[in-house]
């Protein structure tokens, strides 16, 4: 079975659900949710069982624009997993979210993520900048709607407007960059761009301008400094499931494109390789610092997770800047993918606990977490684990990703960036552990047990176990992701 069929199925299912909602307004939320979740689960199962990994299996009309390498397959799987988790979170949050919509209904909430998922899956396989642009827009435009979904909340409206304006601006910058690149290299495909960039006769300044605008446009999407200022407000205002989707799904999609772009721009003997590398190092170091230093002062856990998401993007950009790591046998893209795979369970777990608190009528501030250890020992432990993993504590998933990034930085002897990354990691310990201490502190606003349904408990346990397994036994994941380098070595 072709992967494309699965993706098309998801997109069509999304459209069908949208139609059902429009023409059958009496249909219950539960039906829509189960259709949507069921469809994604089916797609996930099909993807991991019968989907073909061969580019030749794609329909002929998409073959020029898409290629199924292992990186693409990995990100497609990641997109499916996160979409399924987000849809489930939406279902969990529905009771409180429906208070904030005009008509008390949530129907688009269950159809748009399917379209986003299809977009992210296509993006993962894109081989040229036009496909990237189209799929990126498919994802981003859906997100404009999702972010502003809780219409009655002023915070959500503010978030929606900010995201729309800055997103549109960044799209403009991205297209501008694509145009410069096309002008300089005469090509829109990643292969064509790298082929042109190793020719000495290619003019350097236009290519450099194009690269800079391209990186700036993509920097908005992945929340890299200095284009990160939208993140805290948007994360705070958007509904919790959408914030989760933004911080994992949208970020992963941004990074797969960034990986491919950077790989083609920094191809060996590229005329602009050193400049792009320097730019990425500066951006990455700045992103780590601007993500972690302001996080110290945050009182809202949602904003805290927003800043943490920025600093994690910084480590990923640094990993891309370092290039392939011969010592660990991983490509820079592989390290980024590994990091994102470990980032998924910890972030989703963090937002899941936030969602449960929200459903129980609690706020999102650190002080609302006080006494959580007594009110729900399970969620308290799971959240502590997620935060410890975000901080990069050994034996949790978060440590391994950071270890690869730090080894790359040391190997390349980028001491300045290493110092910034270390400062970021050290401050991370402070602000994540401040939350953990609050969780286990004695005095709480209330001490009655939280109502946690069995699905949330199950989800929290699964995610927590995933964090530990990835932290203690990362070998299988790393092996899946170190294949690209071996293939590349053989072809050279």
């Amino acid at each position: 079975m072709s992967v494309f069929t699965i993706e098309a199925f998801l997109a069509i299912l999304g459209l069908v659900l949208l139609m059902i909602e429009a023409f059958a307004p009496d249909i219950s939320r539960r039906t829509l949710a189960s259709l949507s979740i069921g469809g994604t689960a089916l797609a996930l199962i099909l993807f991991f069982t019968v989907a073909s990994h061969d580019t030749a299996s794609l329909p002929a009309f998409v073959q020029p624009w898409m290629k199924l390498d292992s990186l693409a397959m990995f990100y497609k799987g990641l997109a499916l997993v996160i979409t399924l988790l987000v849809l489930w979170l939406m279902h969990e949050c529905a009771p409180y979210l429906s208070k904030y919509t005009l008509d008390g209904r949530l129907s688009e909430m269950f159809s748009l993520p399917l379209i986003v998922c299809a977009g992210m899956m296509w993006m993962a396989a894109a081989t040229d900048l036009v496909t990237v642009f189209v799929t990126l827009e498919l994802v981003t435009v859906s997100f404009y709607v999702l972010v502003a979904f809780a219409r009655k909340s002023t915070l959500a409206l503010e978030a929606g407007v900010k995201y729309l304006i800055l997103g549109a601006l960044s799209t403009g910058i991205l297209v501008f960059g694509i145009a410069w690149i096309y002008g300089a290299t005469g090509s829109l495909s990643f292969e064509g761009i790298s082929a042109a960039l190793i020719k000495p006769e290619t003019s350097k300044i236009p290519a450099l301008l194009g690269a800079a605008f391209l990186l700036a446009g993509l920097g908005f999407k992945v929340a890299a400094a200095p284009f990160q200022s939208w993140v805290p407000d948007v994360y705070q205002g958007a509904p919790i499931p959408v914030t989760t989707f933004l911080s994992v799904g949208s970020k992963a999609a941004g990074f797969v494109v960034l990986t491919r772009t950077v790989e083609s721009l920094m191809v060996e003997h590229s005329i602009i390789g050193p400049e792009v590398k320097a730019l990425l190092l500066v951006l990455g170091a700045l992103t780590v610092l601007l993500g972690s230093l302001p996080a110290i002062f945050q009182q809202s856990v949602k904003r805290l997770l927003g800043y943490s998401s920025i600093s994690h993007a910084g480590y990923l950009i640094l990993a891309l800047a370092c290039g392939d790591s011969v010592r660990t046998g991983m490509t820079s893209g592989g390290i980024v993918a590994f990091y994102l795979a470990t980032y998924l369970p910890m972030t989703v777990l963090g937002f899941l606990v936030l969602a449960v608190l929200r459903v129980n009528g609690q706020g999102e501030d650190i002080r609302d977490f006080r006494g959580l250890g007594k009110r729900s020992p399970l969620l308290a432990l799971a959240l502590s684990l997620a935060l410890a993993s975000l901080a990069g504590l050994p034996l949790t998933a978060g440590f391994m990703g950071k270890l690869f990034v730090f080894i790359s930085l040391v190997d390349q002897a980028y001491w300045g960036a290493l110092v910034c990354a270390t400062i970021g990691a050290a401050t991370g310990f402070y602000y994540y552990f401040r939350t953990i201490v609050a969780i286990y502190s004695n005095e709480g606003s209330s001490s009655e047990p939280l109502k946690v349904n069995i699905a949330s408990k199950f989800g929290a346990v699964v995610l927590a176990v995933t964090i530990i397994v990835l932290g203690v036994f990362p070998k299988p994941l790393q092996q899946t992701l170190s294949k690209p380098l071996e293939v590349a070595a053989k072809t050279h």
Binding site: R327, G329, L381, P394, L395, Y430, F433, V437, S441, K475
Partner: protein
């Protein structure tokens, strides 16, 4: 499956079981007892298990990552088995003395700390060695912040200070370890396996300058964890504020991780760096700070918990002195003192905690005459206090004497160098110990009792942990060879490396 894996996992499983709702006290004490028996059995069997082996006994390794090569490897040499014994003893005593009215988190935290300490001491992989220590630190900090002594503001600030110190220390340590791994894995593949690193270090040692730099970074990292002067100021307030079982486990067991790391990693891998004159002189300066400056600080303390906490910082200086001499006798003394100090300080903190529960204060000038109503308690406290001073017959004395003798004659050299001067200075520490410990003992147990302030002797069941620790002090003090017999094969390689390094250093100086 290696029995050592069971030793590490048992406390963690016990903590999980208590968290899931198993009866706290029975599960906790039962698993600690089981583990103590298991470790005793392993120590008993150690000679035959390690016979004819160059490396570790009870070895096993499970690969968790291929490149960089990380494996969950466990194994025990004499040093590891001695420290595992210390952990098992203190953990058992610590969970036994937790009173029934305390919440289950006391048991959970104690078992997590013990499990982390076992893991750190028994791992043969640098990554897990580091990771397990971190695992043990977190419950320590959370317990100080949320269940410690003193008012809310005070213990929060103490907890943060400790977190910052230990967090930064751990990061420096991690940086040093990663550097070490990168330097010694020049064959293209990174490995965290201690034996592979050792083999590489023996085959192609690093140049001395680089060794000295890495050794100094590691000394700072490990030193912060052991409260080496001037990186010590977190330790005393933290122990004074920590709940009793946490104070016992951290000061008794977990703090030894830093010293263990120096013996396990720095001495064999970077001998020329650690024993080069610049690192040595810096270390001697710092350890004299521990002994002399902290000695005076301890004399001036007004509360028993502060006296104990500061004395614990001070005594680390002697162990550092033993490492810095590097001779066979000094190293054996250092290991023995690690064990002895762990037992004695755990005993003292445990008794002080009981005293605080009964009369609510540990201010020395408000106490007095407590001995009249509690003779057993007084005798038990005397065991801990006299051991801590270094009274012959108790374990600490044997360790200290060996360190002083071993440091004075360094590998047959007759010159009177910085090390010998340091020994002369350190000897005064013994006098200071006697001053503060005897003074504290006198003002608590002798004299006239304050109105309404009295303590009762512990009941038979409550005596168990304290009697056990006191008995261990006596046995190890009278027959130190029982322990030191375990620490033989690994010692030879250490002293060889040290003597070569010191000889080459002195040659370089005399040229």
């Amino acid at each position: 499956m290696s029995p050592l894996e069971i030793v590490i996992l048992l406390p963690l499983i016990a903590a999980l079981a208590i968290w899931l709702g198993a009866p706290a006290r029975i599960t906790s004490v039962g698993s600690a007892l089981l583990n103590l028996l298991l470790v005793l059995g392993l120590a008993w069997n150690f000679k035959s298990a390690s016979a004819g082996k160059a490396g570790f006994a009870y070895e096993s390794a499970r690969i968790v990552l291929d490149n960089p090569a990380i494996s969950f490897g466990v194994g025990a040499d004499g040093l590891a088995i001695i420290l595992a014994l210390l952990t098992a003893l203190v953990a058992f005593a610590a969970v036994w003395q937790i009173s029934a009215d305390k919440p289950g988190i006391y048991h959970i935290a104690s078992h997590l700390i013990a499990g982390g300490a076992f893991g750190a001491f028994l791992s043969t992989d640098v990554f897990f060695l580091y990771a397990f220590h971190e695992l043990a630190l977190i419950p320590t900090l959370i317990m100080i912040a949320n269940h410690g002594h003193g008012d809310d503001e005070h213990r929060k600030s103490v907890a943060w200070k400790t977190t910052v110190y230990l967090g930064v220390g751990s990061l420096i340590l991690l940086a040093g370890l990663v550097w070490l791994v990168l330097e010694f894995s020049s064959g293209g593949k990174l490995t965290f396996d201690l034996m592979a690193l050792k083999a590489q270090a023996a085959a192609t040692p690093l140049p001395e300058g680089k060794q000295a730099t890495i050794a100094f970074i590691l000394l700072l990292g490990f030193g912060t964890l052991v409260s080496l002067f001037p990186l010590h100021s977190w330790a005393a307030p933290a122990y004074a504020a920590a709940p009793t079982p946490v104070a016992m486990l951290h000061s008794g067991v977990l703090k030894k991780f830093g010293l263990y790391g120096l013996i396990r990693i720095v001495l064999p891998l970077l001998p020329q760096g650690f024993y080069c004159p610049c690192v040595q002189n810096a270390l001697l300066f710092m350890l004299l700070g521990n002994i002399l400056i902290m000695g005076f600080v301890t004399i001036h303390q007004k509360r028993l918990d502060d006296v104990l906490a500061n004395s614990s910082v001070m005594h680390m200086g002697y162990i550092f002195l033993g490492l810095s001499a590097g001779t066979e006798i000094a190293l054996r003394g250092a290991v023995l003192l690690m064990f002895a100090h762990g037992i004695s300080i755990a005993l003292l903190f445990g008794l002080a905690g009981r005293m605080r529960n009964q009369i609510g204060t540990l201010e020395l000038n408000k106490l007095g005459g407590l001995g009249a109503h509690a003779p057993v308690f007084t005798v038990l406290f005397a065991f801990g206090a006299f051991a801590s001073i270094g009274l012959p017959g108790l374990a600490n004395f044997a360790g200290e004497v060996m360190i002083f003798l071993g440091s004075f004659t360094t590998f047959g050299s007759t010159s009177f160098g910085p090390l010998q001067w340091a020994v002369v200075g350190a000897l005064w520490g013994v006098v200071m110990s006697a001053v503060y410990m005897l003074r504290a003992y006198r003002s608590i147990f002798h004299g006239t009792a304050m109105a309404g302030h009295f303590i009762t002797d512990p009941g038979w069941s409550q005596r168990v942990p304290f009697v056990l620790l006191a008995a261990v002090l006596l046995i190890a003090g009278c027959c130190p060879w029982i322990l030191l017999g375990l620490f033989k094969t690994d010692l030879a390689t250490l002293t060889d490396a040290a003597s070569t390094a010191i000889h080459s250093a002195t040659k370089a100086v005399s040229h």
